[in-house]
């Protein structure tokens, strides 16, 4: 039976059932504003078709049992479920495509247990990492998942997206930092998902490693209702150094040298290209006073014990100067590193073809690519954006960076980002289609060079989703079989990642 398309009809009877499950009308919200506020994410959005993305009702559960009962009801009636955490995801994972019940997990924000002996913390999916770490600080430990959205994204969304951390080279990314989870399956059962058994074990060889399957599925396989996370000793020392180059290829070469340095405290190396510097120079305070000869920048950060970081910092200062790298000074190095959550991508304004400042939303392409292909991809991506900018006048190229991406292995994989501004007020069907086509061309370049469309945000939006079967290649039938087996009625975040094909 084909289960590819349904737009939910939530009638009074279903609402009454939901109210009976939750037992608190304030947490069952069919009103327009509750739904409108949860219909988009910060990524470019078809604002001219906003209402098509409203959920039909928002539920704010507090327990796994409540989630389970709501999911069972949805499964019985064939109603879509969309899980949502912070709503900061940049690929529309938490945007309903077919209405339905939105499960907003923000009230599940408790710290259930801090275990300083076996070094774990168990939390609800609605907690934010910044808030969690404020609590953990007094114990001398940290949960080091540090996306640029650190102040606003939540653990549930980090798990849903299989997020990428700015400190991943040192501490790992979300999937490395989640030890086990409690998950409500699309059929409503509550299950413990780990490496094997054992809620606090980091490594097991018993059976299938299900934990990875339930990380990064974008809410298409279930809803995480509790997670047991890694606790890492809180770093004693932070060190950051920024180096300027007069040429991208020199900066690229130095990036390679730094990432292969073998320094264990290395938390991240970032290569900013000329367009990014141009963009920062034009109206951001960071680099304006820098001379024109600064055309690329490499940033390095380290965390650890002082006895490790201090000698390593001397080596970084030496390696960073390879290929004529010039140190940008202590103030920029420390200050810009501390600005890493907001500096490089999110001004929310760009320039039209006449150079006028206009309000724009932010697209952040986040391909995973190998070191060897970075220069070619950079050229092709900029050329694509320039072509669309010229033709439509509503796009702006905010430059690129490449950021170390392998967990504990900084040498060869990069999260490669091109930031593109989109003048949302100008969106109509034609301009939206142009954007989707631009987006798709960018993603196709990643595939052409043996990369992955996305290192962190997920491939749940137009322009990405239709390429998922191509990227998954011969594994695509396996993916479809898993989806069909776990979600027989296609209720979990339907329409995402081309997974409707599982039901054809």
């Amino acid at each position: 039976m084909s289960r590819t398309a349904f737009k939910a009809a939530i009638d009074d009877h279903v609402l009454a059932e939901l109210r009976a499950i939750i037992g608190d009308d304030a947490r069952v919200r069919p009103d327009r504003s509750s739904r409108a506020f949860r219909s988009r994410v910060p990524a470019p959005f078809p604002v001219h078709r906003w209402a098509e993305h409203f959920p039909d009702v928002v539920i704010l559960p507090r327990t796994a049992v409540e989630v389970s009962e709501v999911v069972k009801l949805a499964n019985r009636h064939g109603i879509p479920i969309v899980p949502r955490a912070g709503g900061t995801g940049l690929s529309d994972g938490a945007v309903p495509l077919r209405g339905g019940i939105m499960i907003d997990c923000k009230l599940m924000n408790q710290i259930h247990e801090i275990d300083l002996v076996d070094r774990t913390v168990t939390v609800g999916p609605g907690i934010n990492m910044l808030k969690l770490n404020e609590e953990l600080k007094k114990y001398g430990v940290i949960y080091p998942d540090d996306p640029a959205s650190y102040p606003c994204s939540l653990v549930g969304g980090r798990i849903g997206t299989g997020g990428w951390s700015l400190l991943g080279a040192r501490f790992g990314h979300t999937r490395d930092l989640v030890i086990s989870m409690e998950v409500v399956l699309p059929t409503g059962e509550i299950v413990e998902i780990a490496e094997g058994g054992g809620r606090k074990l980091r490594k097991s060889s018993t059976g299938l490693t299900l934990k990875q399957l339930f990380t990064g599925h974008q809410g298409t396989l279930g809803i995480t209702t509790q997670a047991t996370l890694e606790l890492v000793p809180r770093p004693e020392t932070e060190f950051a150094a920024f180096f300027a180059f007069d040429d991208y290829m020199k900066a690229y070469a130095t990036t390679g040298i730094l990432t292969k340095s073998g320094l264990a405290t290395l938390a991240g190396v970032v290569l900013f290209d000329e367009k990014k510097i141009e963009y920062l120079r034009r109206d951001d305070e960071a680099y304006i006073p820098q001379p024109e000869s600064v055309r690329a920048v490499v940033a390095v950060a380290m965390y650890g014990r002082r006895c490790e970081v201090e000698p390593a910092s001397k080596e970084i200062m030496r390696l960073g100067r390879s290929n004529d790298g010039k140190y940008l000074g202590d103030e920029i190095s420390a200050g810009d590193w501390a600005s890493r959550h907001d500096r490089y991508a999110t001004p929310l304004h760009g320039r039209d073809l006449d150079g006028q400042a206009v309000l724009m939303s932010w697209h952040c392409e986040d391909a995973a690519l190998n070191y060897s292909v970075l220069p070619q991809v950079r050229e092709e991506w900029h050329a694509i954006v320039a072509r669309y900018r010229e033709r439509y006048g509503i796009f702006d190229d905010w430059g690129m960076f490449a950021y170390t991406s392998g967990s504990h292995k900084p040498w060869a994989d990069y999260l490669v980002e091109i930031d593109v501004g989109i003048w949302e007020q100008k969106l109509n069907d034609e301009n939206w289609a142009a954007w989707v086509s631009c987006k798709r061309e960018i993603a196709q370049v990643s595939l052409k060079y043996g990369g992955s469309i996305t290192a962190c945000h997920g491939a749940t939006r137009e322009g990405d989703a239709e390429l998922v079967p191509e990227e998954m290649g011969s594994a695509w039938p396996v993916v479809k079989a898993i989806k069909r087996a776990l979600d027989p009625n296609n209720i979990m975040n339907p329409g995402k990642q081309s997974l409707d094909e599982a039901y054809e």
Binding site: F239, D283, S293, V294, S313, G329, D330, I332, A334, A338
Partner: protein, 86 residues
């Protein structure tokens, strides 16, 4: 008692930094108002600009302290800028 000082309200005349950027208060750069015709610029009293600027430093200090006990600096000057700017 709150004190109202005119000088705290009205920003000084801008200094041009580049073709597209001006500076009214030290180290506080703004898009050239000529480029803000579609999206008009908000009028900001000086005290409010200063408040935001200073809060930025507080925020950065907070971020450092949030992730580690201490910040190690290379202790070297900028190699791209004259000393008074580095």
């Amino acid at each position: 008692m709150s004190i109202f000082r005119l000088g705290d309200q009205t920003p000084p005349e801008p200094r041009r930094i580049t073709d597209t950027v001006i500076e009214r208060l030290e180290h506080q750069f703004e898009v050239d108002p000529d480029l803000m015709q579609i999206t008009p610029q908000q009028d900001m009293p000086v005290w409010d600009s200063r408040r935001i600027f200073n809060a930025r430093w507080d925020h950065l200090d907070w971020m450092h302290a949030h992730f580690a006990d201490e910040v190690l600096l290379a202790g070297e000057l900028s190699e791209t800028m004259p000393e008074d700017h580095s």
